[in-house]
Symmetry: C2
Subunit: 262 residues, 2 copies
């Protein structure tokens, strides 16, 4: 059962789909971040990453809860998180990639937090009170994630020879997943028309300018946009990594659907 077997038409269907996409992004990234638990480079950064993971999963939870309410078919946030298959997950492929080294985690966090920041600056004025409320509540935390990850980009880029090489490699590796962030499909267009979705294409310019600025300050080279760009997360097309992650995350819950044990 897919969350979206065909393009939604009614306002509530579009809003449901839009919320689930945002929630999927955050659940999946939160999951990846939580893999750092106990493996961070230092206690303070361990805590910071765990904190960001918690925020991400918390945001996902809020979005799923509202999506389930909009759907009104008796599913709840847990059904959306634990009982959908990878083809039903609509997260960007960038977010399902393995955590890699700290540089990779930081590069991804910076790129996605900046994107989220720009997006939520729009969504906080969404023409749906409850959605706008969630967005503006989450924005405060996103601002912190952005600041934190930007500081690390600067610290690693302008650090040792190895840290510079690592973070440059990270940006080079992840760049092919950035194109997807700004694609506008039917759902995005309809959401924008309904007044609760942002024009993603318009976010690209300020996003790119800020990335250029920070990478420049970090003595890093911005990767070339003229390269193969992955796409398809929003239609349920994923890399093999998502399936593995979901298997682990959903296994216990699906094996014992009524039990609170594991």
């Amino acid at each position: 059962m897919s969350t979206l077997d065909k393009t939604p038409v009614k306002r509530d269907e579009i809003l449901f789909e839009y919320l689930v996409r945002l929630a999927d992004d955050r659940l999946i990234l939160g999951q990846r971040l939580s893999e750092w638990s106990g493996h961070g480079p230092e206690l303070e950064e361990d805590l910071a990453l765990a904190n960001i993971a918690l925020d991400m999963i918390g945001h996902a939870s809020g979005l799923y809860t509202y999506a389930a309410e909009i759907e009104g078919e008796g599913r709840d946030e847990d059904d959306l998180a634990y009982f959908r298959d990878d083809i039903d997950f609509k997260n960007f492929q960038m977010l399902e990639q393995p955590k890699g080294d700290l540089a990779y985690t930081i590069a991804r966090q910076f790129l996605f937090s900046l994107y989220s920041y720009l997006l939520y600056m729009e969504l906080k004025d969404a023409d749906d009170e409850q959605f706008a409320g969630l967005a503006s509540k989450h924005l405060k935390e996103i601002r912190y994630h952005l600041r934190h990850s930007r500081e690390w980009v600067l610290r690693l880029g302008d650090g040792t020879e190895e840290s510079h090489r690592r973070i440059q490699d990270a940006f080079d590796d992840i760049w092919m997943y950035t194109g997807e962030l700004f694609e506008m499909d039917e759902v995005d267009k309809k959401a924008a028309e309904e007044g609760f979705g942002a024009d993603l294409a318009k976010l690209r310019k300020p996003w790119k300018e800020h990335v250029d600025e920070v990478l420049d300050e970090a003595t890093l080279t911005v990767p070339d946009d003229n390269q193969y760009m992955a796409s398809g997360g929003r239609t349920g097309f994923h890399t093999e990594h998502l399936g593995h992650m979901l298997a682990q995350m959903q296994f216990l819950r699906r094996s014992y659907p009524d039990a609170e044990w594991t």
Copy 2:
């Protein structure tokens, strides 16, 4: 290199040891709790356990930082967390036990949070301003952990037949590790004399009364105190589980002491 090769004599040595003990308890339990990440029974409880884990590790971090400052030998919080061996860890054996099922995690959290609450009610008036400040800052969060875990004890005890059986088994299994919490050794006695340590033996009565009360309300049987009680965590004597956990937690940091990579 042990944190304590002989009984400390000077005030600062005693305070250092006292702080490290408390920090070890919280780091180890926080680590165990963070193993739930992505495996909780539901999104909300996943978040709650992750939140408590984060608090625990945050408290440990604050205590280690202050301990390192007191020690004044150039070690920092990370050295204390990542570069001591299991024999140097002074946490209670209760806290290093594997996370088990949710019932076990909840039973442990309830027993330890109640203990921490009673202990920190004393420590917040410690005759050391910085320590007292930490204790009273952490107390607010401990109160939440206690409330949360108590609610779950009631929910599971007074729930289904299976949940009742599971939580009763959990209390029965963990009980042998509760004796250690109230033992007063030389360090505890000296800390109390110096005005910054609590009389642990005196905490036993209010702790037991509240446990009795909650377990009774949860329709559970309080395990018998006249059974073998484990002991030795405070002298670096541990079950095999601690070594495995530390190996995993410390491996990367020790392999690449100067790198922030993994």
